[in-house]
Amino acid sequence: MLLIHCPYCEEARPEVEFAYGGEAHIARPVDPSTYSDEQWEEFLYIRSNPRGRHHERWRHSHGCGRFFNAVRDTVTDVFETTYKAGEARK
């Protein structure tokens, strides 16, 4: 079973305790009412979808309940690192 290191629990925990939360570091609109359709499309649907290093959000839903960020290789499925939400991109 794939083990994921939770930066809050400071432990490697089984993957089934976690939920995937999509790409990380996507900033919410500061002033949503001024957004054009194109900007909304960009924010809601357009993702980088890289081959290789991918920054993504995970939630330790059956553990501490916290969202955190992870860097995972989309080819090998190896987690390079995980870090707390709010920390700078690694």
Partner: protein, 175 residues
């Protein structure tokens, strides 16, 4: 036409036992009635002052019947009837969730094997007095290692019947 075998046990036939079940090296029973509280606060000091009890500081630690489940979340498992003070005007929350969950207790040298049959954590490495939220198969549970061979399992009421029967099914095979 393909014949489809009937399911051996339907959900309606599952019963939540009331009496303890003694297996070979493992005993399954209900925990004593408990008062349960969900405690939340960003600042543990605020919460500790409100309830007048010490809070464990690290995730997974327990102290006086209170387990730290997350960075801002604690779970109090206290003797039935215990009343914690409610919060007013402070950034913290104390919620009585006594009826939300049931406590099942697995005891004996085979208890670890029974729990490990459905729980993906390495429970053998879990220290006595530690508690954590995790899953059994797909059911969310809180596991509390009360002693070397005694495990308290908190499970939401609606999943308790299934969990009880899942434990029963594994017990004959746990050595």
């Amino acid at each position: 036409m393909v014949e489809i075998a009937e399911i051996a046990v339907s959900a309606a036939e599952l019963k939540l036992g009331t009496e303890p079940v003694q297996g070979d090296g493992v005993r399954l029973s209900h925990a004593d009635p408990k008062a349960r509280y969900s405690l939340r606060a960003r600042d543990a000091k605020v919460l500790a002052a409100v309830i007048g009890r010490a809070l464990p500081g690290k995730i997974g630690d327990t102290d006086g019947g209170i387990a730290c489940l997350g960075p801002d979340e604690w779970y109090a498992l206290l003797p039935a009837g215990t009343d914690l003070p409610r919060v007013e005007g402070l950034p913290a929350s104390v919620v009585d969730v006594s009826s939300r969950a049931l406590g099942l207790v697995l005891e004996g040298p085979g208890a670890l094997a029974v729990l490990s049959s459905g729980c993906p954590l390495d429970l053998a490495k879990m220290g006595v007095g530690r508690a954590t939220r995790t899953v059994f198969e797909t059911v969310e549970i809180v596991v509390w290692r009360e002693a070397e061979d005694r495990w308290h399992v908190e499970v939401w009421r609606s999943f308790a019947t299934w969990l009880w029967n899942a434990f029963l099914a594994v017990m004959p095979h746990a050595k």
